[in-house]
């Protein structure tokens, strides 16, 4: 029974390299515990992001043995086969330093997808009465719990291959708004996601759906958007 873990961490920015550290193996250890140990006891210059440590904020997402995951919710015992672990920053995003990426492109695409609520009422109007059991509301509710952690974006090969592709998170949020009866921005939104880099670029690899820590299903949301944009285009409601 080994008592130590050999962990490789990405150091530097884009032209960096992996450096190896030895970390004591503990029971119920998470990958975030390992990274924290290195920063506190071995190398204080290590840069990484975290906040809640308990799996509700999504800030600690990193690439663990090739897969993007929340490091606070990944037990070392589950992923460190043979006592080895390789941790890098999230893929498909610029690296600021070490394990911290620049999330700006991720949020810019969110804006480009018009994945923001477009209100049709003001505070002076009565509150909208929304039934929770309509098919549209159920579809929106099934997709709404995204906390923008970037795991799906990092996992997506189409994001990697297609610089224009808006990505699973931005499109999933667009889907919730398309299904929101209070929202008034659908024409602009459907046009934004019907062009190059829009929902039709998705090849349904489903890496997003398999890896989403919130168990969301971007593939299904994007399939819904493909149907909605196709119908809108055929009816002449949107131009591409």
């Amino acid at each position: 029974m080994t008592t130590e873990l050999s962990v490789s961490l990405w150091r530097g920015a884009r032209n960096g390299r992996y450096e190896t550290y030895r970390v004591p193996l503990r029971s119920s250890q998470t990958v975030l515990d390992v990274v924290t140990f290195v920063q506190r006891h071995i190398d204080p210059t290590l840069s990484y992001r975290f906040a809640c440590r308990v799996g509700v904020c999504g800030s600690c997402a990193m690439t663990v043995n090739g897969k993007p995951r929340w490091t606070c919710r990944t037990h070392v015992a589950k992923v460190a086969g043979g006592g080895r672990l390789e941790i890098g920053p999230l893929a498909n995003l610029p690296v600021i330093k070490d394990l911290a990426t620049d999330m700006q492109p991720f949020f810019e695409k969110w804006q480009q997808a018009k994945s923001a609520f477009a209100p049709t009422k003001t505070r002076h109007d009565a509150i909208a009465r929304i039934r929770p059991d309509t098919p549209a509301r159920k579809a929106a509710d099934a997709a709404i719990e995204c906390i923008n952690c970037g795991v799906c974006y990092a996992a997506c090969d189409t994001v990697r291959w297609n610089a224009d592709y808006l990505g699973p998170a931005a499109l999933t949020r667009a889907w919730t708004l398309v299904n929101d009866e209070r929202d008034g921005g659908n024409i602009a939104r459907l046009e934004a996601i019907a062009g190059a880099g829009g929902c039709h670029a998705c090849h349904s690899h489903q890496s997003c759906q398999e890896l989403c820590p919130q168990a969301l299903n971007p593939t299904a949301a994007i399939a819904g958007l493909k149907r909605r944009t196709a119908a809108a285009y055929l009816k002449g409601e949107i131009k591409v």
Binding site: W161, A196, G198, H200, A201, A230, Y233, I238, V240
Partner: protein
């Protein structure tokens, strides 16, 4: 890829799905009976049905394959968008011309 190309690609795919099944059946039939060129051509020459079937197949595949190739070129090569479009259109035309020529070769009496 945009909604317009998407619709053309998915529509031609749906049209071709049954055509593909029939084509596989035709290939199996021809190989099982060890058909020679004479056997094949005696069935296809002057046949409006075969002309319509394969004419439709060739037209659909020219559109479908060129859009598919366009996606692959766009994602897996460093070519810019105009070049990718040009290659895809060229490929589609090659398939349409050679394909309709092949259909003519076997159905014209």
């Amino acid at each position: 890829m945009n909604v317009r190309l998407y619709l053309w690609q998915r529509a031609t795919a749906a049209v071709m799905a049954p055509l593909v099944v029939v084509h596989i059946a035709v290939i199996f039939y021809a190989t099982r009976h060890g058909m020679s060129a004479a056997d094949i051509l005696s069935r296809t020459r002057g046949s409006i049905a075969w002309a319509a079937f394969y004419g439709l197949f060739v037209s659909a595949v020219s559109i479908h394959a060129s859009i598919g190739v366009r996606n692959v070129l766009s994602e897996w090569t460093p070519l810019n968008e105009r070049r990718v479009d040009a290659c895809a259109v060229f490929f589609g035309l090659v398939l349409a011309v050679l394909g309709l020529r092949a259909v003519a070769a076997v159905v014209l009496p």
